[in-house]
Subunit: 258 residues, 2 copies
């Protein structure tokens, strides 16, 4: 069975989608096939992987409604990386899910049968929306672990305790196996004092939970989605792409030890 | 009656909170008293205005539950700028509001009596969370207009049509007076091609709806919240603060013409 990792943080714009796309690509390049599940109605991961709008349905909304994984899954521009895209009707799922019999378990139950027969996939990455509502909770209940991208900014740091306390609540109430895979610092700028302070602060408080690999702020990273390809394909040698390649390596090392 | 402006965009991290705080401060400095309503459970606007956690309740959640505005309102570090802070229980409001008799109108109905007697306030600014759920819809139903901060990035541009189409739906279904106050470009970096492309793209498609004032990326802006003060108080001469002062002037000019 593949390992399921939710990429989550309710703070907006911290690099969730960018991390899901590029970590997924780097894992696939390292020979570990990945399925990327876009659970954000914005559909940014679907765009960043070059999936045309017309090909996105049924998508993750369909999956939640019972569509088989095989009909929702799409190939991407990256060998070894497939995706379940997001469509706009996913925005209505927050309220609809809350009326289901076991609202928090819908995604877990939709994925379980499909992944049981899955012998090739190594990882499933779930890109979450910027909120702690029913979509993110569903991702946390379905996941084995959660990866928290943290932008090196003061306001992002403030929100870290909120996402960690939701993870704790989901673990106690719905998913005892859920653990924090780690915290990944993103958009780091070594010339900027605030960035350095945030890095030091988080390392002091959370120690080993913070990944060694730091993702630098790098304009090539933000250009890549406009070409519908991950930065690893857009410009493999740039600092952002190299950092995501290292991140995949560190993730695999940490999984071996855990 | 004060003019009510919702600051909204479902894309995360585009500068909603930073714009609400600093536009509010600049309007207050120009002699126009402002009430800032923090409708985001993250509470970033409350932090950026230096309101201690212990003083935030009942907050906007209390207001939605019927607490009088006078008990929820707090003074801030800025003369002429008061705020209704956000508390974490606001996160539960999305689901609770959807069960109210007129779910979309709760905020409008909570504000109406309080603002009717209000003779000193010039503007109410509502800082919205990064979603198009019930909290943002409530803000759009309560508002006279909506200001959309737009980060100069490709993924942010992609989401613009989503927020504009929700505004259209709210206008037709619930609030015929609602109009787009304007689109404000944020975190603009003139050395970065992508920034310039996004600026040109948006101006071509939306013309006059795009404010002339552009907010540059400026590290002093992101430092200010860690001191609990707006950038206009943290470093008045920096490019970010000056841009927000110009933005307030442009807003007042546009309101006179409309
Ligand atoms: N390392 C980086 N260097 C430069 N830009 C980056 C980097 N990582 C992400 N970005 C850009 O920053 C913006 C925010 O990133 P992204 O959309 O991945 O964040 P998110 O957390 O998924 O946002 P949301 O909360 O809206 O889902 C995007 O425009 C992205 O291209
Ligand atoms: N002009 C700017 N220059 C530099 N940094 C900025 C600027 N505007 C905002 N920031 C920083 O960018 C980050 C995102 O801004 P902000 O939190 O205001 O966005 P938001 O849209 O309110 O986010 P959310 O979607 O989480 O509510 C913050 O850390 C903020 O300090
Ligand atoms: Mg995203
Ligand atoms: Mg905000």
């Amino acid at each position: 069975r593949p390992r399921i990792i939710a990429v989550a943080n309710q703070k907006g714009g911290v690099g969730k989608t960018t991390t899901a796309i590029n970590l997924g690509t780097a894992l696939a390049a390292a020979g570990r096939p990945v399925l990327l599940l876009d659970l954000d109605p914005q559909g940014n991961a679907s765009t960043g992987l070059g999936i045309p709008l017309a090909e996105r349905a049924p998508g993750s909304y369909g999956l939640l409604q019972g569509a088989p994984l095989a009909t929702a899954r799409r190939q991407t521009t990256v060998p070894g990386l497939s995706a379940v895209p997001a469509t706009r009707d996913l925005a209505g799922a927050e309220i609809e899910l809350s009326q289901a019999p076991r609202p928090q378990h819908c995604l877990r139950e939709a994925l379980a049968p499909a992944l049981a027969d899955e012998s090739t996939l190594s990882h499933v990455l779930i890109d979450c929306p910027p909120s702690l509502g029913m979509l993110t909770v569903n991702a946390l209940v379905a996941a084995d672990s959660v990866l928290v991208p943290l932008q090196c900014e003061f306001l992002a740091l403030e929100g870290l305790s909120q996402v960690l306390s939701i993870v704790e609540r989901v673990r106690t109430a719905f998913n005892p196996a859920l653990h924090v895979q780690g915290i990944v610092l993103t958009m780091y700028d070594k010339r900027n004092n605030l960035s350095v302070q945030v890095r030091d602060d988080v390392r002091t408080h959370l120690g080993d939970a913070v990944y060694e690999t730091i993702i630098p702020r790098n304009v090539r990273v933000s250009e890549a989605p406009s070409y519908g390809v991950p930065v690893l394909l857009h410009d493999f040698r740039c600092p952002g792409a190299q950092a995501y390649a290292h991140l995949a390596g560190e993730l695999l090392r940490r999984e071996r030890i855990q």
